[in-house]
Every structure is written in structure tokens, then in C-alpha cells.
């Protein structure tokens, strides 16, 4: 079993030096080589990717891998050094991300998308000095693991319709309501909760705040939410007189909608570079499947494979364009909606094609499901079995729903890019 040795994770004394030169330069190549060496160091020689580890090895591997990244300053590469980051440039962040994807290793723990990417980035922008000094190091050390308390049963696409409410009780907020679709809440120590702190609002986007709440308290109950794949990465979170200190607010009281939009809008420029790499490896695995099942000579399958690959290339080119704009400091903005439409619809079509390649084998899939996170692409090293593809097919059904449903994305594209008039919603 490919599990890295504990001894390989001893922190190195020095972080990697940063790149000062232009893209494509010698400095960039040297930085890339150093990153690759640090990443590859604890991995076994026959490493294929985290997708190849068995289910029971996933959790321990991720914990140790996260420590390895942290020890080498590769966990929050763009954060200032003062808060435990590496103070690196966007280009360096992209290189680290690309190297992680190429090697088939995660870029952090399961809760880091919420803690580092979303909350951390927003705290750096809007947080108080005290919040930055206490919360940011705790996120990096892994002491605080965050989850996102946004969606509710009546607030999905219409997020501003949240009903969870909070009122001041002495020096604390008292919070009541319910959250749903809360990813990895069962692994989290903290939750940031979008809730209504004032009822006297003209528009429902007003009177909202984001509160920073500890999970380990009597007022919070977490129930796993099993999805159609049989997995339970989502949860329901019930808040019944849950409490947090009165100053545990992200941004200002009543400005929660702005804070939420900022938090969701942190652009992952590096995703534009890494997603196409992952989809291309998905596609290559699909080709191998088609080859093993003798479908490569069949014109009907070839036409669909050719169309599928053509989309992978479109995503790659669009990603390169977005990335070069992002590195130039341009706002990607609503264009990220175009990317989301492309990849989510690609992953559904590709997995449907996998089903048809398998044919009747799809009725009785063999082998375990996908290992690792697999949102939205499967992890490197995933098994090329009918079981893995069926699982991928099921997981892909969510792709057009989560992270803003594709209907909402099309509205965003039409209204913000094409400037068509807003509809009453």
C-alpha cells in the first residue's frame, strides 16, 4: 500500500525561494523543479496518485500530506509570511498547484478550501488585526478546520433567503436555524454562518452577517446527509441557541451579503490551469477504457470521444487565456461562469460516454468507487474499473447543481457579460 512514511515528513528548515522573474524564465523553471523535488520527496517510487490509495488510507494520508505541505510553506503560498504563508506571487501559486496536480497529490486537507481559500482570503482583506493574528495561524496549523454554513432548505440558488437568525445576548450572539449541504462539517471544528442579524431590512440581502462559530457546543448538531452515491460528504447542521462571542463577525454586522460574495468570489486562478490537466487525464483513462472494451474501432464511439477531447482542449485553451489574464492582475469575474458551464457539462457527458463504453457491464459494476475528493475531476491514479466509472457518473450528476447551478450561471453570463436586463427573481 502506497502510504508515505511518517519519517519522511520532518519539516525542512528553509522554505523554497520565490520567483522574481517573468513566466517561462529560468527562475520559474528552477522554482518549479524545487517544488517538484519537495513534493516528490516523501512519495514512494511507484506513486500513481492519491486516487489509487484504498479508502481506509485516504484520511491518514491526507493528514500527513497536509503537514508536509505546511512544513515547506506550500499550504497557503500566497499568504503573507507574518501569518504563516509563503508570501509568494500568483504565478508561484499556480506552479505549486500545477505540480501537485501533475504528481497526483492534494493541495491541502478536505476543509482547506473553506479555511484557507475562502475564509482566510476574506480575513486578510476584511478581518481585524486580532482575528488575523489568532485565526490565520490556527487554520494553517490544522487546529481550526472550517466549514461553510451558507445553504439552507429554503436558500439554495436564492441564497439571500436565509432564515437562520442571530440576536445579541449579553456579550454573545445567540443563533437559531438550519444549514444544509454543509461539506465536511463532520470533520470541522468551526463553521462560518451566514445569518440574519436584523429583521428591519428593505431587501433580503440587507441585515445579514457572517458569524464565526465553534462547533463543539451543545447548541450545534451535525447530521450526515447521504447522497445518491452512498457517500456522506455533506451534512445538515442544526443550530439551537448556538453561541459565539459578539465580536466573532466576519466584516461588519449587517454587511454579511457583501462578505459572502467576497468569500465566494475569491478567484482560484490556479484552477484554470489545473482543472484541464485533470480532465485530460480523465479523458486518457476513458480512451484506455474504450481500448480495453474494443470500442476504439467503432465509429459511433469515436465520434463521441473526438467531441469529448475537443471540449477538453477548449477548456485547456480557455484556462490558459484566463490564467494569463489573472496573472496580469485582470479580474476573471463572470467569465468563471463560462468555465463552470463547460467543465460541469463535460464531466456529465464524459461519464455518460463511459457508461455506454461499458455497456451492460454498467448494470453490475465491479470494483470500488472513486477514492479521494473527485470534485469535479477524479483524482490522479483512479482505478479504471466499471465501479469507479459508475461512481464517477453518479457524482457527476451534482456538477451542474453545486457551486451555483448551471441555470444561475447562465443568468450570470447573460446579465453580467452580455448585459441583458435583469429579470424579476
Amino acid at each position: 500500500v502506497n502510504v508515505i512514511e511518517e519519517s519522511a515528513l520532518i519539516p525542512s528548515a528553509a522554505h523554497i525561494d520565490t520567483v522574481q522573474d517573468a513566466p517561462g524564465s529560468k527562475g520559474e523553471r528552477e522554482f518549479r523543479e524545487k517544488v517538484r523535488a519537495v513534493l516528490a520527496d516523501p512519495l514512494p517510487a511507484d506513486w500513481l496518485g492519491v486516487g489509487r490509495l484504498p479508502a481506509e488510507a485516504q484520511g491518514p494520508f491526507r493528514e500527513r500530506w497536509r503537514s508536509h505541505l505546511h512544513a515547506h510553506g506550500l499550504l497557503a503560498v500566497q499568504w503573507p509570511v507574518a501569518y504563516g504563508g509563503a508570501g509568494m506571487s500568483p504565478l508561484e501559486q499556480v506552479i505549486v498547484a500545477e505540480e501537485c496536480v501533475t504528481l497526483g497529490v492534494p493541495q491541502g486537507g478536505l476543509n482547506d478550501n473553506f479555511g484557507i481559500q475562502m475564509l482566510g482570503s476574506t480575513l486578510l482583506k476584511y478581518g481585524t488585526t486580532a482575528q488575523k493574528e489568532t485565526l490565520l495561524p490556527a487554520i494553517l496549523s490544522g487546529e481550526h478546520k472550517w466549514c461553510q454554513g451558507f445553504s439552507e432548505p429554503d436558500a439554495g440558488s436564492d441564497l439571500a433567503n436565509v432564515r437562520t437568525s442571530a440576536s445579541v445576548d449579553g456579550d454573545e450572539w445567540l443563533i437559531n436555524g438550519q444549514k444544509i449541504w454543509t461539506s465536511y462539517a463532520h470533520l470541522a471544528t468551526h463553521i462560518f454562518v451566514l445569518c440574519r442579524t436584523s429583521k428591519a431590512a428593505e431587501r433580503k440581502q440587507q441585515g445579514l452577517s457572517i458569524l464565526l462559530v465553534e462547533i463543539d457546543q451543545p447548541g450545534i448538531e451535525i447530521r450526515p446527509l447521504k447522497t445518491m452515491t452512498g457517500e456522506a460528504e455533506f451534512n445538515e447542521v442544526f443550530l439551537t441557541d448556538a453561541r459565539c462571542p459578539v465580536d466573532a463577525v466576519l466584516g461588519e454586522v449587517g454587511q454579511g451579503w457583501t462578505a459572502a460574495m467576497t468569500l465566494l468570489g475569491f478567484e482560484r486562478g490556479e484552477a484554470a490551469a489545473t482543472l484541464p490537466i485533470r480532465f485530460r487525464s480523465d479523458f486518457d483513462r476513458l480512451l484506455q477504457l474504450a481500448n480495453e472494451r474494443g470500442r476504439l474501432e467503432d465509429g459511433a464511439y469515436r465520434t463521441r470521444l473526438a467531441a469529448s477531447y475537443s471540449r477538453v482542449e477548449e477548456m485547456r485553451c480557455l484556462g490558459e487565456l484566463a490564467l494569463s489574464r489573472w496573472l496580469d492582475g485582470e479580474d476573471i469575474g463572470a467569465e468563471s461562469s463560462l468555465h463552470k458551464l463547460l467543465w460541469s457539462e463535460w464531466v456529465q457527458e464524459a461519464t455518460e460516454l463511459a457508461l455506454d463504453i461499458l455497456g451492460a457491464e454498467a448494470i453490475t459494476p465491479v470494483g470500488e468507487g472513486l477514492q479521494g475528493v473527485s470534485f469535479p475531476a477524479s483524482e490522479a491514479g483512479s482505478m479504471n474499473t466499471s465501479g469507479a466509472w459508475l461512481d464517477y457518473f453518479m457524482r457527476a450528476r451534482a456538477a451542474t447543481i453545486y457551486a451555483g447551478s448551471n441555470e444561475i450561471q447562465r443568468n450570470i453570463v447573460a446579465e453580467r457579460i452580455l448585459e441583458l436586463p435583469r429579470d424579476r427573481r
Binding site: C317, L418, L420
Partner: protein
């Protein structure tokens, strides 16, 4: 790879756009294209003399601007936007690429300066057969005491009627090579086709012992491949421009047209249709931008990138021309409205110089070799 245009390239784009908006506006397309004006209305010599655009791909030494396919593709996008009907793709795109890629200094010295000055129109024949990988259908070239002679037929030759110089791809005992033939040479028969697309002058050229001079290449095969990828790229760029313009017209109409007391663009049925058009346009634009730079830098994946861009762009113009029709409703179905011209261009592009399906199949074949090893 940096895909966004630099400041010079953006300037070039703005220059061409404002020139065409002024001299070849979409609002006048129906009149100009449908034959209610004569050919002198088509801005051509001004493209060469005022803007120097015809010589964009021609080296300085031959009186050109010494730019490359990235600039050419930017111009083609603009020409595609306005459904420009002059012989730019054939002369400044295809013929110039064939000449510049050669090692034939005599031919370059004879023709390139005249092309750059806008004095000579040229085209390439046999490209459709090359693009469709039907080399056996190319005309045959055989040696004579004084040079070569060409026999056979080439179909779907762009601007065949106007070209004063035809560069023809013909098969020889040593594979495909390119030959120079001046119009009016005995044994060259040109028949202009009555096509569906009035924005494209397309003809068939029959060759009956026509005297020709070889356009000399060190390795002719590589020249033909290069020509093929540039053709795919430039046609793709042109299609993307046309698709984008088609979408813009539809979006403008959706903001203007009121039904049920509201702009129709406020309805999600219209919005989502427009968003889907934009998705196809932006994806195709990105593949064209990538392919232009891959071809310019002679990247190993340049041919695949160009074929993929051509496929994406050809689908984009077809998608936009058909989908925009649904936004326009009845008005878009009229003869006076420019939409049918975009639709006609979409039909031509779907089949001229190879289909999207065939291009994708070829790209897939190479990917299978790389991923599966067969």
C-alpha cells in the same frame, strides 16, 4: 503561453474594426452583398495602400509588414465579423503563406511586393482536397522539357475568378508539391460556382496540360502541412469573428425588442440561449488564440491546435447563426435582415477545407496514439 493580444495587436484589431465599421458596415450588408452595388464598393486596394494590411504576413524585405499568423488571425476575426467579401483570405492569407514558407526567392521577389502593394490577387487551389486528405483527387503535375504541366481538377477554389496568380497543390511522383500558374495561361479553365454563400467567391479550376513553374520548397510535404494548418487557423479565426458578431446582433435585438411589456432579453429562455452562444464563441476564440500562437511558434501540437480551433469555430458560427435566428424571430427570417448571410457563411464554413467531424477524428487519432499507444 500568453494568449491575450499585446498592445500593438489590440491596436491593429481596433484599426481594422473601425475601418470596416465605416466602409463595410453590417447595416449595409444586405445591399452590398446581394449585388445592389458593384465590386468597386468592396474595399480592397485601400486595405493594402491605406492600412498595409494585405502585406501583414509578408516579410519587410518584400515590402510587407513582417508580422505573422497571430496578426493575420486577428485581422481575419475582424473580417469575419463584417462578412467582408474581398479576396483577403485567399491572397493575404493562403497565397502569402504558400510563398513565404517556400525557399523560392525568385517567386517571392516576383510576387510578394506586388501582393503587398495590393496590385496582385492570388489564391491556392487544391487546398480543399488537401484538407479533406483526398490527395489522390489532386491534379497531377508532370515534367516537361521547360518545366511542368498540370492536369486534373481542383474544386472549391477561393476567389478563383479574381486571382491573377494561382498556386496549385498537385501530386507528383515524389508526393504533393506546389506550382505557380498565372491566370490566362492556356489550359486553365475557371468556372465560378453559383453557391449558397454570396460572401464567398468559389470556383472550380480545371487543368488541361497547363504550363506551371514549381514553387520550390526544401521539403514540399512540410510546406503543404504548414499551409493546411494556417488555412484551418485563419478560416477558424474568420468564423469566430462572424459568430461573435451574430451573437452581438442577437443580444442587441434582445435588449431592444419589447413583448409582454418587457425587453425579451429579460426572459431566461432568451438569456440562456444567448449565454450558450457566448460559451461557444468564447471557447472557440480561446482555441483560435492558442492555435495562432502554436502555429506561430511551430509548437509540436500546432496542427492539432489549428484543426481543433477550426472545428470549434465552425461549430460556433453554425450554432450562433441558427440560434440567433430564434432570438430575432420573424424579422431574422427576412431577406433584408443580414442573418441569412451569416447562416450562409456558416454552411460554407461547415464543409469548406474539411469538416469539424473529420478534424476532430484526426486529432483523436493522434491522442489515442499518445495515450493508448496504438
Amino acid at each position: 503561453m500568453r494568449l491575450q493580444p499585446d498592445s500593438d495587436q489590440r491596436e491593429l484589431q481596433a484599426l481594422v474594426r473601425s475601418y470596416l465599421d465605416d466602409r463595410w458596415p453590417t447595416s449595409a450588408l444586405a445591399d452590398t452583398v446581394m449585388g445592389r452595388c458593384d465590386a468597386t464598393h468592396v474595399p480592397w486596394s485601400a486595405l493594402a495602400s491605406e492600412l498595409g494590411l494585405v502585406g501583414v504576413g509578408i516579410p519587410d524585405a518584400y515590402e510587407g509588414l513582417g508580422c505573422g499568423v497571430v496578426e493575420l488571425s486577428i485581422i481575419m476575426e475582424e473580417l469575419g465579423r463584417s462578412l467582408y467579401i474581398g479576396p483577403y483570405l485567399s491572397t493575404a492569407g493562403l497565397a502569402v503563406t504558400a510563398l513565404v514558407g517556400s525557399h523560392d526567392h525568385a517567386a517571392m521577389g516576383t510576387y510578394l511586393p506586388r501582393i503587398a502593394r495590393g496590385e496582385l490577387l492570388a489564391t491556392v487551389a487544391g487546398l480543399h482536397e488537401v484538407a479533406e486528405d483526398r490527395l489522390e483527387d489532386l491534379p497531377h503535375a508532370s515534367r516537361t522539357s521547360s518545366g511542368w504541366e498540370i492536369d486534373g481538377t481542383t474544386s472549391l477554389v477561393l476567389d478563383a475568378d479574381a486571382a491573377e496568380l494561382i498556386i496549385v497543390c498537385a501530386s507528383t511522383r515524389d508526393g504533393v508539391r506546389m506550382f505557380l500558374v498565372e491566370a490566362g495561361t492556356q489550359g486553365v479553365g475557371i468556372v465560378l460556382s453559383e453557391g449558397i454563400d454570396p460572401t464567398r467567391a468559389i470556383g472550380t479550376v480545371t487543368w488541361t496540360g497547363a504550363a506551371a513553374t514549381e514553387l520550390e520548397y526544401d521539403v514540399a510535404r512540410l510546406g503543404v502541412t504548414r499551409l493546411r494548418m494556417v488555412t484551418a487557423l485563419l478560416q477558424g479565426a474568420e468564423d469566430v469573428g462572424a459568430a461573435e458578431r451574430c451573437l452581438e446582433l442577437a443580444v442587441a435585438y434582445a435588449k431592444d425588442r419589447v413583448q409582454f411589456g418587457r425587453q425579451i432579453g429579460s426572459f431566461q429562455a432568451i438569456k440562456h440561449r444567448c449565454a450558450d452562444m457566448l460559451l461557444r464563441v468564447e471557447a472557440a476564440k480561446a482555441t483560435v488564440a492558442y492555435a495562432a500562437r502554436a502555429v506561430a511558434s511551430e509548437a509540436p501540437d500546432a496542427l492539432d491546435a489549428a484543426l481543433n480551433a477550426n472545428a470549434a469555430a465552425s461549430d460556433a458560427i453554425f450554432h450562433c447563426a441558427t440560434s440567433a435566428g430564434q432570438v430575432f424571430g420573424g424579422i431574422g427570417y427576412t431577406w433584408e435582415h443580414p442573418l441569412h448571410l451569416y447562416l450562409r457563411r456558416a454552411v460554407t464554413s461547415r464543409f469548406l477545407f474539411g469538416t469539424a467531424t473529420a478534424h476532430r477524428e484526426e486529432v483523436l487519432t493522434r491522442r489515442i496514439e499518445a495515450a493508448v499507444g496504438r
